[in-house]
């Protein structure tokens, strides 16, 4: 079983590295998850992660790339809500990677 250690706590991960228990998420957990992906979270990343958590709270599902882009454009404007910006931030796989770092389930309709 994969896991992370954050501030002395053991955080279980599934085989793809997503949190097993969504309630385990915290900002330090996000930092640790990002570190595993060789990523350092900037303010730009955090803005998207917070938005993604709001998306999940509202719709109870993780968005695929296209709806993610649409939602970011809707909330933060088209200069943030475009595939180039999101691909650069999240290594070309924004829906999958951002969902992982935001502590959401893996997007099911992301083929």
């Amino acid at each position: 079983m994969k896991h992370l250690s954050v501030a002395g706590r053991r955080i279980e991960l599934d085989k793809d590295g997503y949190l097993t228990t969504l309630a385990d998420w915290s900002e330090p957990v996000a930092e640790a998850l990002a570190q595993q992906e060789q990523l350092t979270l900037s303010a730009e990343h955090w803005q998207i992660l917070r938005l993604l958590r709001a998306f999940y709270a509202e719709f109870q599902l993780s968005p695929a790339n296209r709806p993610l882009i649409k939602y970011v454009a809707l909330k933060l404007g088209p200069e943030k809500g475009n595939s180039l910006h999101l691909n650069l931030l999240f290594k070309g796989a924004p829906a999958k990677l951002a969902a992982k770092l935001a502590g959401l389930p893996k997007p099911t309709n992301c083929l």
Binding site: E58, F59, Q60, L61, P63, A64, R66, K70, N109, L111
Partner: protein
């Protein structure tokens, strides 16, 4: 040009996997930018009823999921006027902005789509 698909969604959210499967088809198709429509028919209109509490049955919140359809590019949403009326549901209380259509308009709607599937 992709073929258009109308998904006819006619089961209650609580009767089994059909309602969720219909939604999954819509979300997957929407992610590929297919021109999609969804029609709520028969007990399917109960998916649009307000104030449902899926947590009481330890189920996922289908109603919340349905709200994401427009973000997934599924903006053509319809409900059968007859099904609503038979079940005592009123258009203004529905949780999605679906266009309410009489049977004659539904026949024309089905005719217009390239492909149709009923769950």
């Amino acid at each position: 040009m992709s073929k258009s698909l109308l998904i006819i969604n006619r089961q209650s959210p609580w009767s089994g996997p059909s309602a969720r499967e219909a939604l999954d088809i819509a979300l997957a198709g929407g992610a590929f930018d297919l021109p999609l429509g969804m029609l709520f028919l028969d007990d399917g209109v109960f998916q649009l009823a307000p104030a449902q509490q899926p947590s009481a049955l330890q189920q996922k919140d289908l109603g919340a999921n349905l709200q994401a359809l427009p973000l997934f590019g599924v903006e053509s949403l319809y409900a059968s006027a007859r099904s609503l009326q038979e079940r005592g549901l009123e258009q203004q209380t529905l949780t999605l902005a679906a266009e309410v259509l009489e049977d004659a308009a539904l026949i024309a709607l089905i005719d217009r789509y390239d492909q149709v599937i009923t769950l």
